[in-house]
């Protein structure tokens, strides 16, 4: 009997495993410098290696306090419970990137568990992903199979080798595992971005994707409802080692379509032994079945006898909790409450750590400099407006991030002061913003030398007004006759004549006096 495989609805179901390289100074279990710390990003291969990393006889691991505290901090930020007692286990497998023959990890007693992270989904609504656990382990060495960058292409095949750099071996690695709560690829990406953001706010990782500081592994399947109302779950696929958000989105979307098609063709459903592992081929935009490491699931975990357990007292936990800075969510709320920003604007200014800090620096700078009586709320709102209008426009045109446009917070503060003092008009301010992106000069000097300062000088204004009234006799008559909206046309002409330098408000006042008050 041929089964009816007609699909009524298909719902994506995604859980994430996220690996975060912690940027401690030294390694997880030994004292060599950590390649994930900014001081050592570009260390020469195999120069951050010690006897523990090499697995030399007699070498003993010792836990790094900072790695444990960073992990607890992430756990607390994700609303996790922190285990009072956790321990280390050996995950045994032979592979050239792991000289010891086992990876030290946490198996049944992870450091952090049962948390959640709230974020604003693609539909603008808040949603929550549950965190199952976050456990600490050590990263492995780095294997390169593609050696064409170091050798002439003629050599690649001749060499027939894989090359090992052990600098990364022993870097503290926090593995965060979520429930399969995500239903859309876009939401999965936003969740991953938010998680990265939280980790960067906590300053526990460089978070540089290109350097592999964060690696994402979505577990994907599809819940299909057939025409007959039957619910079917497709076999779960784990996509390994994605190191860009684009790859996360692409891999999940591809799996969604592929699994539906696969079910239509084969009828395969989720079940024991059905889970498979795939890799992402970015060039072709497809996932590819990976040959699994032989006996990949026979890791023979057992407690590591070399390492004593970790006991986290309430006191220790509290002292770590006090080091947690303002997190993106809290910052967002503050922007809405204190600066009166819309939810959407507050979100834009907090979804990237660098952008958010830049925004904060601009406000700080304005507060330090200003002699006017601007309130804190007004300052926040004004800086936000400038960055989200002129800044966003420029960022968009130049494909850059807001914080990376070349305008210093001091220049932003100067520009805003000029606007507040009405020494520059709004369109000239836009122009000045662009100039500031390209020049180091202070805003007033630059505006002056480029002739952008607002003209309030009455003789000059009078002359423009006279010309404008002459050019627009009809509008002048209408305005004189009581039609307020005719003024816009006259002011527009004045702005054109003055190249945007005329002070629109002074001009309006002047015209009202001339045409109406006598």
């Amino acid at each position: 009997m041929v089964e009816n495989r007609t699909i009524k609805t298909a719902q994506l179901k995604v859980g994430m495993e996220i690996h975060v390289e912690l940027s401690t100074r030294s390694k997880m279990f030994s004292r060599s410098a950590n390649v994930a710390h900014p001081d050592h990003y570009d260390a020469t291969p195999n120069t951050l290696v010690d006897p523990v990393v090499l697995g030399l006889p007699g070498a003993l691991p010792v836990m790094n306090r900072a790695a444990i505290e960073s992990s607890i901090m992430v756990g607390l930020a994700l609303n996790c419970s922190i285990a009072e007692f956790s321990r280390w286990d050996r995950k045994n497998y032979f592979y050239p990137d792991l000289p010891k023959g086992y990876q030290i990890s946490q198996y049944d007693l992870p450091l952090c568990f049962d948390g959640e992270l709230e974020f604003i989904g693609a539909n603008g609504q808040p949603q929550t992903v549950s965190i199952i656990r976050a456990h600490l382990e050590e990263d492995t060495g780095k294997l390169s199979h593609d050696i064409s960058c170091r050798h002439g292409s003629m050599h690649v095949n001749a060499l027939n080798q894989s090359l090992i750099d052990l600098n990364r071996a022993g870097t503290p690695l926090l593995e965060i595992v979520t429930h399969p709560d995500l239903k859309y690829a876009d939401d999965a990406v936003i969740f991953c971005q938010e998680l990265r953001n939280v980790c960067r706010f906590l300053n526990v990782t460089g978070g540089i994707m290109q350097r592999g500081h964060m690696r994402f592994e979505p577990n994907v399947n599809v819940i299909i409802t057939t025409d007959e109302g039957k619910q079917i779950a497709t076999p779960i696929v784990e996509v390994k080692n994605l190191n860009s958000f684009k790859a996360v989105k692409g891999a999940i979307e591809h799996e969604f379509n592929r699994q539906i098609k696969q079910w239509q063709e084969t009828g395969l459903e989720m079940g024991a032994g059905m889970k498979s592992t795939r890799g992402w081929d970015a060039d072709r935009g497809v996932t590819v079945l990976q040959r699994e490491k032989e006996d990949a699931h026979d890791y023979r975990y057992f407690p590591d006898p070399d390492l004593p357990p970790v006991v986290v007292t309430e006191e220790w936990k509290q002292s770590i909790a006090t080091c947690i800075p303002e997190l993106p969510q809290q910052r967002r709320r503050r922007y809405v409450d204190e600066y009166n920003l819309t939810d959407a604007d507050a979100l834009t200014l907090t979804t990237d750590f660098d952008v958010s800090n830049y925004f904060e620096s601009c406000i700080d700078m304005l507060q330090q400099r200003t002699t006017s009586d601007m309130t804190a709320a007004h300052m926040g709102k004004t800086v936000a407006k400038l960055l989200l209008n002129a800044g966003a426009r420029r960022a968009n045109e130049h494909h850059r991030e807001l914080h990376d446009l070349g305008v210093t917070p001091e220049q932003i503060a100067q520009l805003i002061e000029m606007r507040e003092a009405n020494t520059i008009g709004s369109s000239a301010a836009d122009e000045l913003f662009d100039l500031l992106c390209e020049h180091d000069a202070d805003a007033t000097t630059l505006a002056e030398s480029c002739g952008l300062l607002q003209v309030t000088d009455s003789a000059q204004l009078d002359s423009w007004i006279a010309q404008a009234l002459e050019a627009e006799p009809e509008a002048a008559a209408n305005y004189a006759g009581g039609k307020d909206n005719a003024l816009g046309r006259i002011i527009g002409t004045i702005m054109k004549l003055s190249n945007g330098k005329a002070d629109a408000k002074s001009a309006s006042d002047q015209i009202r006096r001339q045409l109406r008050d006598n």
Binding site: R31, N160, L166, P309
Partner: protein
């Protein structure tokens, strides 16, 4: 008694340890490992009801290092025991189609 392990078991364990064994060695280890397991099996005679599993015999927790790096090994020393090198890298037979694990 001597059948605690099958030939397949031994082959599986040997593969995990990346050991290549001939038939004679497989039989030898099958018997030896069986004897070891049998010896350890004596523990199952103990009444362990209500006894918490113990992973470490010494009551010692939180032996922590401060996060300050110390000198790494000299590159020459790191590479000294490697059977094959390629520049500053350790070289192994080409591995393809398998992912890095973490």
């Amino acid at each position: 008694m001597t059948d605690r392990f099958t030939k397949d078991d031994i082959q599986h364990i040997a593969r995990l340890a990346r050991l290549q064994l001939d038939d004679e060695q497989i039989e030898q280890y099958r018997l030896q490992l069986g004897a070891v397991l049998e010896h350890v099996q004596m523990l199952s005679q103990l009444d362990l009801d209500g006894v918490e599993p113990l992973s470490h015999p010494i009551e010692l927790n939180n032996r922590l290092n401060d996060d300050s790096p110390q000198a790494s090994l000299q590159l020459d020393d790191v590479l000294r025991n490697a059977p094959q090198l390629e520049g500053q890298f350790l070289a192994v037979p080409r591995i393809l189609g398998e992912s890095e694990d973490a």
